[in-house]
Symmetry: C3
């Protein structure tokens, strides 16, 4: 009887975990940084917690949400985190999400404990128009994603009722991704009709044993002006606990590169360091320290 | 022996859960909204997490607190969330709580995914004087509640030491509620002596099988002026997973009504939609989407 | 077989708890306060939650972080909470931490539900220069601590790359502590070279049965001016659930004292009250209420 009681308790616990729940994860880091233009090398540290909410309807649809504790206020207004429902029909997501082009093509690998300015990241129209670069914020953005076999298609549209800043039409984006073994091919397209802006970008990721290459190439028109093209290229070599990354980018004639490494201490801890140079601005930066995930 | 170990572990876990603890719950929603006066229909989404803190003294008094993550800063200053202790003597609560009249009488049912302006909600003096409507904020408010049989009595008083805005006396409120089977009768009285303001409101909730009716009627004097009366009426019909609500209100001659429905998908998910019209302002609003609880 | 399954589940759960994790704790309080200079006695309440992140590397180094939910935004920028890694080499910490002198010497006991202005706390240069008193904020601060036997040594340095306010050199601090049975002796030294400021402080804590005495004495020079000395003395008597504390301080000729008591209700709840007088300002304060920990 005692054993039966134990089993029952466990089953009840299991049922509790299977039902709607809120779970916690976190990350932290500590180290030193010499940022672009800094005279002195300083300390850098941070700690963050993420809430993950998950549930399932009676018919088996999965739903959930996630946001960080430091973004809790923005998440309560749809300007941070995301909410989703998914099933055989695909996945519908709303919130402070990347545009479909960025979701599909993404970015090449970056370096450093802190990202060092995230120079590896490509320019996406969705971010320019919908997350503040132009003084706007039209989240929540909505996206619909459908996957079958190695193929994934995503469409996104920013909030059509932008109550903040200039009243422009929403930004539409399309992302297509195809995974074939160690190769991933992706295509992204973004369009903001009102402002005569669009962007097309292609990307490829390929893994050759311990070596992974990521590359993308995009062309953009912003406010009717052909601003040229951007390309980003990264290579990451991983051997046991060690991982080394280099990237080089040319973003509308602004050149930059970076080099970094990380060593996995196990249990979620890594030693991480990086160097990045913004050639056009003639500045550079480096950092070094420990990163933790919980 | 192994089984004994398991049992012991479980008991230890159980003991842990019975002692002082912090638990998480959450809610989220995603959908579309056309707000009062909007040209365009836009997206709406949000995700929130609530902390619930609970404990028990050696003599069996329950105590606890609760607040949302997005209100964590305000809760650390008594301006959001609440703290309580309860026992045979009743329940004492402090924080950003409703006045006693609102606690007893409450509001008739509202509609929509987002509440659509919460037009179903009555005006309570406590909110006008103590939560910012008149530029004041005198939380923490304190309330004492005692229940016996179907009867509940509540008294509340806003912070007597209002350091913000105009220095007026606290707002006192009284709430009485009596539950008799499917009927609930409630009476609320609020008084802000300094400003020559008072409010009396009565409410009744009644359930007839699948149908629930809620109604309230109040008369108020604000700053010495008899501002007239307000009444609110709602009817909600629930059948299996479906629930349909209509409300109509007249708030000091401002008329409004709303109509909404929700369909329970199980597991904490609902499809929810609503329409509300502010007759006096000649504007309306609607929303539709999914609401989740975790 | 069923029992084996249960056992396995438990072991998996145990493993989960031993690995990197995020746990929650909290505190709350509710009561009344008459603050320094208040005409009226008002209500005071608050509720807070703390995240504790912990993990362990493959080689057995402990790492972790902690911050409060109401400080989540600041913690994501290194201006609240802390991050650490520790092992046989000692402990390295970064974030919004006390300077080494304060970590070693600390403060004498305070009184009251709310701390009543924390008049028991000594002045530390680290706080003046690095946490806003002079308009600066140079967190994250870094500290290294090493303990052997009853001896603990700590060194700290504020962020050398102060991007906020006046660009002064970081504040260095040293703390030494020796625990010998019921006695603890501590020495702290702080130096801000650029501003010609330094501070030396000694402290002693001693326990005689139910009675604990804490005292410290410090001398400081700020911006080249000898500002004199400060001393703080407290006595706390504990008997069963009751604890009574008195303190008296003279901080650079500003005199103050306080008297308080708390009664432990068990389960994390206490009844707490206190009185404090700022002799130099000729004002006093008192509070009374319940404090909870979760």
């Amino acid at each position: 009887m005692k054993h039966l009681l134990v089993t029952t308790t466990i089953l009840a616990l299991s049922a509790g975990f299977a039902a709607a729940e809120v779970t916690l994860s976190g990350d932290a880091r500590m180290g030193i940084i010499n940022n672009f233009g800094d005279d002195d090398t300083g300390f850098t540290s941070r700690a963050r917690v993420k809430f993950t909410l998950s549930g399932e309807t009676d018919t088996g649809l999965s739903f959930g949400a996630s946001f960080r504790a430091d973004n809790a206020s923005a998440a309560s207004a749809g300007n941070a985190g995301e909410v989703f429902i998914s099933g055989a029909f695909g996945k519908l997501t709303m919130g402070d999400i990347d545009g479909a082009a960025q979701q599909a093509v993404g970015n090449v690998d970056g370096v450093g404990l802190t990202g060092l300015g995230d120079l590896n990241e490509a320019v996406y129209l969705h971010n320019l128009f919908d997350e503040g670069a132009f003084g706007l914020n039209s989240d929540p953005t909505a996206a619909y994603e459908y996957s079958t076999g190695g193929f994934t298609g995503i469409i996104s549209v920013s909030n059509p009722d932008n109550l903040v800043g200039v009243d422009i039409d929403p930004t539409f984006a399309l992302g297509l991704k195809y995974v074939m073994g160690d190769y991933t091919f992706a295509l992204g397209y973004e369009d903001n009709n009102d402002s005569d802006s669009d962007h097309v970008i292609v990307g490829v990721n390929a893994t050759f044993g311990a070596f992974t290459v990521k590359a993308n190439y995009g062309q953009a028109t912003v406010f009717g002006v052909d601003v040229g093209d951007q390309w980003h290229l990264s290579g990451t070599y991983s051997a046991d606990a060690l991982s080394v990354t280099a990237f080089v980018v040319n973003e509308f004639d602004a050149e930059a590169y970076g080099l970094g490494a990380s060593y996995d201490l196990g249990g979620g801890a890594k030693v991480v360091g990086g160097y990045a140079r913004n050639d056009s601005a003639d500045t550079d930066a480096f950092d070094f320290g420990l990163s933790f995930s919980f």
